[in-house]
């Protein structure tokens, strides 16, 4: 017995000895987003996007500090919940991830960002668009997508200048994302001299909006803006029709999805508009190619932000290349110098960590799909 233990121990020593010399250095990259719950489809999409970026880097065979590197994704489920997000962030930090792609929602990204800041781990969000995230002035917080101030301003301008809407009502789901976007729209509207005729609230778990819509109906709006995700946005639109509200429907990026079209079904019409931070998939420099490779690798089409998630992961890897190290302390300063052509466009960050090239596109529903308006 003693003998065999001895043998095993010896074998162990030789094994570790050889692996250290030959095997690749494993660099863990964290991903955090909702992998269960009502918007799990969005989270999974981004997880796949990040995975694809790491696969590509691994296929190229990258060396940092003279050692070959293999990237591994550690995906955690934050349930889009602020409290779970901090737990998950701590778990990723404890597991020694070198960088994080995430979180998906602003409600999760904001509380989690503090933990990454304390741990000194860079976290790049593919899809949290709340202005509050980067207003915290954390050194480790970055994003690759336009923020809601840019998005809300674009929607407000469009509603007043192109649609000529004068009576606009605003609803949000009280999440950091929905509220942030709706507030941005309201602020921009006021700056354009339009005061919203109604402001109502719901939650990201509701399915019945008849009560608040009935109330808004009394204010006779020309257009209703909903700040929230597709899972609620589509029922809002359906129930508008059921209550005989003829107003135009305006949504943010959370409602600019294929799911929105699927769930809202017959309620969709050319009176439905949405904004999307960034540019449409088919106008992304690498969009077409990305979509095909994504489908081939995961067997599902891109839902929403997978290209951004790909670029977020790529930005981490680019910074590591510049620093020739995967150590957060060494490559963090290099994130400011990152400049490359990603799937979604040119990736570069301003001093606050926001994307320099945060474009916003306006979409209109037309014959079965979202059409980007010029």
């Amino acid at each position: 017995m003693k003998h065999s233990v001895m043998m095993l121990a010896l074998a162990g020593v030789t094994m570790t000895g050889s692996t250290a010399a030959l095997a690749d250095m494993i660099v863990k990259i964290g991903f955090a987003g909702p992998l269960t719950g009502p918007i799990a489809h969005v989270g999974k999409d981004e997880q796949y996007g990040a995975q694809l970026a790491l696969d590509d880097a691994n296929a190229k065979g990258l060396s940092l500090g003279g050692q070959k590197v293999k990237f591994e994704l550690m995906a955690e489920d934050d349930q889009a919940d602020p409290r779970t997000a901090t737990t998950v962030a701590q778990r990723l930090a404890d597991a020694g991830v070198k960088g994080v792609v995430g979180h998906v929602t602003s409600g999760a990204a904001i509380p989690a960002s503090r933990i990454y800041e304390q741990a000194g781990i860079p976290a790049i969000t593919p899809s949290s668009t709340s202005p509050k995230l980067t207003q915290q002035k954390y050194k480790t917080t970055y994003r690759v997508i336009a923020n809601d101030l840019q998005q809300g301003a674009a929607m407000a301008r469009f509603a007043t200048e192109v649609l000529k809407a004068k009576r606009i009502a605003v609803i949000d789901d009280r999440t950091a994302y929905g509220q942030g976007l709706a507030d941005a729209v309201v602020d921009s509207l006021k700056r354009l001299g339009v005061t919203p005729v109604g402001r109502e609230f719901t939650t990201d778990k509701s399915t019945d909006f008849a009560a608040i819509l009935t109330k808004l109906k009394g204010a006779q709006p020309d257009a209703i803006f909903y700040g929230g995700m597709d899972a609620q946005g589509a029922p809002v639109l359906k129930q508008m029709k059921q209550l005989g509200i003829a107003a135009k429907y305006l949504g943010g990026d959370g409602a600019c999805t294929a799911e929105m079209i699927k769930i809202a079904g017959a309620a969709m019409s050319p009176d439905v508009y949405c904004t999307q931070a960034g540019i449409p998939m088919d106008k992304m420099p690498g969009g077409k190619d990305f979509n095909e490779r994504f489908k081939k690798r995961f067997g599902v089409p891109v839902q929403l932000y997978a290209p951004y998630s790909y670029d977020a992961a790529s930005a981490l890897i680019e910074a590591m290349k510049l620093a020739n190290s995967a150590e957060p302390a060494k490559y963090l300063p290099q994130l400011q110098k990152v400049a490359f052509k990603g799937v979604t466009g040119n990736i570069a960050f301003d001093p606050s960590g926001d994307s320099r090239e945060g474009g916003v596109t306006l979409y209109q529903f037309n014959s079965g799909k979202w059409e980007a308006r010029p």
């Binding site: 992998l35 269960t36 719950g37 009502p38 799990a40 489809h41 999974k44 009280r174 402001r199 109502e200 609230f201 719901t202 939650t203 778990k205 509701s206 399915t207 019945d208 008849a210 009560a211 608040i212 009935t214 109330k215 109906k217 009394g218 597709d230 899972a231 589509a234 029922p235 359906k238 029709k241 059921q242 209550l243 005989g244 799911e259 699927k262 769930i263 079904g265």
Partner: protein
């Protein structure tokens, strides 16, 4: 005026779904003193099974009319949920019947998670579009007030089922046995009532109602999703407590009242509080009413029996 009328219609539609689900909570509580937290998830399973059945029917019998297809889907879902209700009772609760009160409560929460996770594995995380076989084109019976045929169907079906359930409990042999078991199941079994069977029957009936509620819910909103049972489950539980848990009439009253309070609360809370509160306090409004009712009537609106188990 038409706004108030519209809010009343909205409230009644939501409320009658709450009421139907609340009946399931209250029946089980009345008999076992157990809060079956998995009940909302039975509603979810009901909706998703119906969705699957309707897809199959549309695939293999596309010529079947809309209503027969819906009834077919509903039938399958009711049967599956009855079997599910029986299985839950048999496997998760029966062995714990004499255990301390907390044990079955925790088990109920466990069953709820189990059902949700299973549904997530089977049906995935995405929202499904539920075929709206009953028309959702709004009718306008009074100028400015809209109601869709599916909402009318919801009101009619829930009212019918509630009356049927009251008749079942008050007029039939099974109902008498259920009431006896609720009062004291040891004594009932001494009197020759097969209490195991009665308790199983209670779960089966409650689950069938949940299945119907699930199909109605999904038909109205046009969506089905593995986490959809949580909110109606929570609201129906609140409704059951509001009406007096353990009391069937109370569950119905509580459900309708909660629906109305929510709807009218969301519509008028801003005016009533002079702009101080807004519709983000919609749920608080409902719970404040619940609190007030419970302060003055701790057993709920219609609850008379002092709960000896809660």
């Amino acid at each position: 005026m038409e706004t108030l009328l519209q809010q009343t219609v909205n409230g009644l539609v939501v409320g009658s779904v709450y009421a139907l689900v609340a009946l399931g909570y209250t029946m089980v509580y009345g008999i076992l003193g157990l809060i079956n937290f998995a009940h909302g998830d039975v509603l979810m399973i009901g909706a998703l099974v119906a969705l699957e059945a309707i897809r199959l029917i549309q695939l293999y019998a596309p010529d079947l009319g809309l209503i027969p297809t819906l009834l077919g889907g509903l039938g399958v879902s009711v049967i599956v949920c009855m079997a599910l209700g029986y299985t839950i009772e048999r496997t998760a609760y029966r062995r714990l019947r004499n255990a301390p009160r907390l044990a079955p409560l925790i088990t109920a929460i466990g069953v709820s998670f189990l059902l949700q996770t299973l549904a997530m594995i089977i049906w995935g995380r995405n929202y499904h579009t539920f075929p709206q076989l009953v028309s959702t084109t709004p009718l306008e019976p009074v100028a400015g007030v809209f109601i869709t045929p599916v909402q009318i169907a919801i009101l009619v079906v829930s009212a019918t089922l509630m009356v049927a359930l009251l008749l079942l409990v008050n007029k039939t042999r099974l109902g008498r046995a259920m009431r006896a078991t609720a009062e004291n199941h040891k004594v009932a079994s001494l009197m020759g009532v097969d209490t195991n069977k009665i308790i199983a029957a209670t779960f089966i009936i409650g689950s069938a109602l949940a299945a119907v509620a699930g199909v109605m819910f999904s038909s109205n909103y046009g969506i089905a999703h593995y986490a959809m049972g949580f909110m109606p489950g929570l609201k129906a539980f609140t409704a059951a407590v509001l009406g007096g848990i353990g009391n069937l009439g109370g569950a119905m009253l509580g459900g309708l009242l909660l629906g109305l309070v929510e709807s009218i609360g969301a519509g008028y809370i801003e005016d009533m509080s002079f702009g101080f509160l807004n519709s983000s306090y919609q749920d608080i409004f409902a719970f404040v009413i619940l609190g007030i009712v419970l302060i003055f009537r701790p057993t709920g609106l219609l609850g008379e029996r002092v709960a000896d188990r809660a």
